[in-house]
């Protein structure tokens, strides 16, 4: 188990280095994308590697002349990576609509970079009507056509079905890992799930499916001795998490993250794609049903219901809202989600992050205060 986990850890620590290597090894093309509503299933079906862009670990300099300071670190950091030439392994980029900032980033990206192709997948914002579903299917069909021309391939039904099968293997395995972590906290190192998720969004999906299934097998067979001192059961809710250090800090402060509601977490793993229906329609149907992002509309209360249900199911002691500064959709949802948790008597903590983490000492104090209170 250790060797697989350390592989994921090294990939998550430096996805750019991994993809360069993988590209050389497999000869596959790489397509970058933002957000979990980008249909990476179609990129995989095209024989390319879908590569999720997470922002930057370096200072933001070049992006400053394109984006104001009140734009989030994911958008500014992503642009910085592109402008600095650190994404030069990509053939093209796939932009789902997501939010106001990503929508403008798409324009700025297209006008200031020279990747071979640029696809805007303006997905519907509503996910609860038939016309929105029809429109989503049209958008996905268009993405397929544009990927074909961008990558110079034909994507047949068979390829999409095979891709879907890989993704179902991946998501089934990921959800099993989530279950294992929830029932046996401490079985993995604190940031392992984070590393696995990041790896799963940048690795060749076929290879990742094999690796993650192997990990499930090993983990299922590993008994964990956590009789010592189990920590408080923590759930994290928010968008992306680019600071895996917080998992370790939380563990040292007496809190085990046992579940999450993150875009780079469970929301990506949620739901399999039907293999009985037309494959593109089936991809759309998963999007319509999976745990929803606040930039989309499923109902006025879907997110609070999902959050409280998950917290109860996983016997959560406390929820940490890990919000990226300047992320409007999440910030708008925070007061009502907090209220829903208050009503269910589940304590929560708001933790806002920018591109850099606050000093470790300060973080530790906040986490310790929170876990002590639980």
């Amino acid at each position: 188990m250790k060797s697989i986990l350390s592989l994921f850890q090294s990939i998550a620590a430096n996805p750019n280095a991994h993809i360069r290597e993988a590209k050389k090894k497999t000869g596959k093309k790489v397509v970058g994308y933002f957000c979990s509503y980008a249909p990476d299933e179609l990129i995989h079906a095209a024989g390319a590697i879908p590569y999720r862009i997470f922002g930057t670990k370096d200072d933001i300099r070049l992006a400053d002349s394109h984006l104001q300071s009140y734009c989030c670190a994911l958008v500014r950091g992503g642009l910085e990576e592109a402008l600095a030439g650190r994404l030069d392994f990509m053939e093209g980029t796939l932009f789902p609509h997501t939010c106001d900032s990503i929508q403008r980033l798409s324009d700025i990206w297209r006008l200031n970079t020279d990747f071979k192709f640029h696809i805007d997948a303006v997905m519907p914002v509503k996910l609860n009507t038939k016309s929105a579903r029809d429109y989503m299917i049209d958008v996905l069909s268009d993405v397929k056509i544009r990927l074909e021309s961008g990558l110079g391939v034909t994507i047949g039904k068979k390829e999409i079905v095979n891709s879907i099968k890989d993704f179902n293997r991946i998501r089934t395995a990921l959800r099993t890992l989530y279950e294992i972590r929830s029932t046996t906290p401490g079985i993995f190192p604190p940031s392992a799930i984070h590393d696995i998720m990041v790896s799963g969004m940048v690795m060749d999906r076929g290879e990742f499916a094999d690796r993650v299934e192997a990990l499930v097998e090993k983990a299922s067979a590993t008994a964990v001795d956590n009789a010592g001192k189990p920590g408080k059961r923590i759930m994290i809710s928010g968008g992306i998490c680019s600071h895996p250090d917080i998992y370790g800090l939380l563990a040292e402060s007496g809190g085990d993250v046992v579940f999450d509601d993150l875009c780079t977490g469970f929301r990506y793993a949620d739901g399999n794609i039907s293999t009985d229906a037309d494959p593109i329609e089936a991809i759309a149907d998963r999007y319509m049903a999976r745990a929803v992002c606040p930039a989309k509309h499923l109902s006025n209360t879907a997110r609070a219901e999902g959050l409280v249900d998950a917290a109860k199911k996983h016997h959560i002691d406390g929820v940490i809202f890990l919000l990226l500064k300047f992320c409007d959709p999440h910030a708008f949802d925070y007061p009502y989600l907090k209220q829903a948790l208050d009503d269910a008597k589940i304590p929560s903590l708001l933790f806002e992050v920018e591109d850099r983490m606050p000093p470790e000492g300060q973080l530790r104090t906040r986490f310790e205060t929170f876990t002590d209170m639980l």
Binding site: S106, I108, D134, K325, P329
Partner: protein, 408 residues
Amino acid sequence: MTDEKKASDPRKIKSVRRMKEIMTNYYIGAKTARENGKKVAWITSGGPVEPLIAMDVIPVYPENHGAMIGATKMGVDLCEKAEEMGYSRDLCSYARADIACATINGGPIGGLPEPDFLVCCNNICGTVLKWYEVVARYYNVPLFILDTPFVHGKFTDAAKKYVIQQINEYIEFLENVCGKKADPDRMDEVGRLSVEAQRLWQKVLDAAAHKPAPISAFDAFFHLALIVTLRGTQETVDYYKGLSTEMEERIANNIAMVKNEKYRLLWDNLPVWYRTRWLSEKFASHDACLVADTYTSAWSGVLHLIDEDNFLESMAVAYSSVYINISLDMMIDTLKKMIKKYDADGLVMHSNRSCKPYSLGQYDLSRMVAKQIGIPTLIIEADMVDERSFSESQIETRIDAFMETLKA
């Protein structure tokens, strides 16, 4: 603002008084809707109000309310109240001010009348979706969302089909919440009035192409209220006819909004509501007039896409293509046309913390304008309602420096 100029001042626009009358009556009508057995719908500024008018529903605009809160300088208190409720200071100040206002019936008119239902069109931003979800939960009323896909270069056939389907869903929704059938003849009539009002509004704005400009962007910000809230009514058509005639008279009598107009500037983004007068006077002190803006023309800029004989469907397509719902390379085309039409010497961009879809991309647009047209841009970092984001001394210095380069 110019409406506060002395009555004897020939530069004062006379129609202002009529506008205030209409808006006062409109808000009284909205506040007493319940007693008069009328329904109230809250709707976003870019949303299709025409079906509401045709169904005899009173439309209410939280954004117009936000602008009033800003103009009366009540924004900071309300924004702080929203922050106490847990809303981040980084969120849209219209939304913050309005969400807080509802809980205390505060603000300049003691709060908006409660909605019977909500209509949210995301052609202006994703923020309104989240804002209207908050309102829908607060008042526990139905919410209709008109989802207008963002236009990256081309409005696709799929998007067109999607918005047209939604217009039909919108009418069905209205029939349900109003408990009566829509009247197609009435709808046609409202559609015609809406188109006529948009034409007249554009004519008013076009008057500023004359040198010296008889009207400035700061006046347009004020006279905009009706085309946003009540287009589709005869009253609005009559008002803009009057305003348009007044513009013709001003041109005939060579009345300039800015005495000694020497420099003509184009404004981008929403107004800084609590400083319109200060900004207007500041620029005027440099003999500069903000002759036009990208904001107020949003309500007539897509007129060419509307087909009066197929109003509802063509309206859906047109409203999806408003200035703020199109990509930067499409925006630059509009900007270039406006710079040419109004013969602008410079561009003033309000980088508005509250409005990401309007503001992100301005740096690129300003470079394109410099490169393709050769005129300079001043970028003012501020916020439309939250005065805490306005640094007067810094902005004054920047305006002075910008005007010096223009004069050089």
